[in-house]
């Protein structure tokens, strides 16, 4: 029984890391752009498929393909900002309009991937490795790598937010956009970098999800619920809250399988989200 719970906790941490990375990006973008981006999940998918593409069409090796994919996804985010988000911001459209638009982006990306890669499940071209046994708990090297990389990323996000000029500008912009503008912060630039960081994290989360499961064009869209649940649990807009929220959602979903049929995992996220909205709508750690 103990090893079974241990195994579920381990799985929960792995899954929680992925959800946390995705939710950090979602929350950052929400804080700076002030809207819930429903295309966020599809950027996870985009990151995973970029990796597949680079790994399959070149001989760079898988790790380098991942790095390229993250950069390519961030570049897509920048392009999208120039083509769509910036125009919407400067035309003064309100956030509901932008949210509806993000649904259009999501539909377009997801289906474009189906055209190029077919709707079937795919795997990364990486060798299948045996699990290692840590005191009765089985983990693959990929799962361990996911946890290590995710924690590294969280540290990086923390130092960006607390130590860099970008981080300070982001906070200033989120607290008071008009004041930020007056004090000479280049708002468009800060927003663009935020998009790139947020989508880069999404791409990484997508790659990790592809590594521990498989790829399909729906993979990112299908975890939009746990992603938003994590962001809301942490207080939407709060990056640190999103990390904690992701972990809690990941653990809760996996541990619930000890008591509930595994198919109902996703309902656990929903129940947590509803409970938070009723009792602590600003999230466990407060947010915007």
């Amino acid at each position: 029984m103990n090893t079974m719970i241990g195994q579920l906790v381990a799985n929960g941490v792995v899954y929680g890391c992925i959800i946390a990375l995705a939710a950090i990006g979602l929350s950052l973008a929400y804080r700076i752009m002030n809207f819930a981006n429903f295309a966020h999940g599809d950027f996870l998918t985009l990151g995973a498929y970029f990796t597949l593409f680079f790994a399959a069409t070149s001989n760079l090796g898988f790790p380098l393909a991942c790095v390229l994919a993250v950069l390519a996804t961030a570049a897509c985010a920048a392009l999208l900002d120039i083509a769509i988000w910036k125009r919407m911001r400067s035309s003064g459209a309100n956030r509901t309009a932008i949210m509806i638009l993000s649904i259009g982006v999501s539909i377009a990306i997801r289906n474009a991937l189906i055209i190029f890669f077919r709707p079937d499940a795919l795997r990364f071209p990486v060798p299948v490795m045996e699990s290692i046994n840590l005191g009765g708990i089985l983990l693959t090297y990929f799962q361990i790598a996911v946890v290590l990389i995710a924690f590294t990323c969280m540290l990086v996000v923390h130092s960006i937010l607390s130590r860099t000029i970008l981080g300070k500008s982001m906070r200033a912009l989120a607290d008071n956009p008009n004041l930020a503008r007056i004090t000479g912060i280049n708002v468009d630039q800060v927003v663009r970098y935020t998009w790139m960081v947020s989508m880069g994290l999404a791409a990484l989360a997508g790659i990790m999800l592809g590594l521990v499961t498989h790829l399909n064009p729906n993979m990112g869209w299908s975890i939009i619920l746990p992603m938003f649940a994590a962001a809301i649990l942490g207080g939407i807009g709060n990056a640190y809250g999103a990390m904690a929220g992701g972990m809690i959602i990941g653990l809760a979903q996996e541990i619930s399988t000890a008591f509930l049929p595994a198919e109902y995992k996703i309902a656990v996220s929903f129940a947590i989200m509803i409970a938070v909205l009723f009792f602590r709508p600003r999230g466990l750690m407060g947010g915007t």
Partner: protein
Amino acid sequence: MQDYLVSIILTAGIYAIFALGLNLQWGYAGLLNFGHVAFMAIGAYTTVLLSMNEVPLILAVPAGMVLAGACGAFLGVATLRLREDYLAIVTIGFSEIVRFILLNWSSLTRGSFGLYGYPRPLEEMIPHEDYNLLLAGVVIVVLLLVYALLEILAKSPWGRVLKSVRDDEAVSVSLGKNAFSYKVQSLALGSAIAALAGSMLAFYLQYINPNNFQPIETFYAWIMVILGGSGSNRGTIAGAVLLWGFFSTTRFLEGYVSLSPSASGALRMVIIGLVLIALMMFRPQGLFGRKEELAVGK
């Protein structure tokens, strides 16, 4: 050819009813329901399951509407005191949860095998091959009734309060209106209308399965509403006709293009996504809407 026309009338009509429910929520009250399909699913499954257990349709259809309305009200109570995007997030989650429950509660719903062989209205009165024609008539009557109901409500003092909540909630509160209650009411009524569309869909398809109720169905309704002009019931019906016209012409053209079925379906969806983006960027009032009465872009 007649069969083809009848099937277009049926699908466009059913989706027009579905989208009218959304227009009440978004067009009149400014509520972001991103899980509209859940209420359609609730309507379809409730009606079918009850009627398979000998409950007459005259009760089974309203039962679905009541259940969907209650779920809509519940989600509203949970989120409508918060910023408007919480409703969007929670409803989209709810629509996935409903689909998962329908997929996995096999003892009740037969999961992905779906349900079939259930009674349909007026079935014994007419030979099977003509049934769709009759059903098309029923759908048109229901559509007209829903349209008339919504037009009366929209032009009534009730609709006036709803529009004031959409425009500026603080103003309507300052004039003594319980804005929260009106939002919940519009969510409940719109959800009940979606359930009615769900029952009609079940009658038409003769076979329902949880995958009929994917999240994308919700966004078909959004495109119909926005294409026609948010806040216009007539525009919403026109939007439904246009969207189904687009679907059937592109299906017809598929024969001439050398794409795999999944790729051509996906291409159609890419176009749908781009249309939604273009509408929001360049013509948020839709084709027939009035810019002055736009539900977005205060």
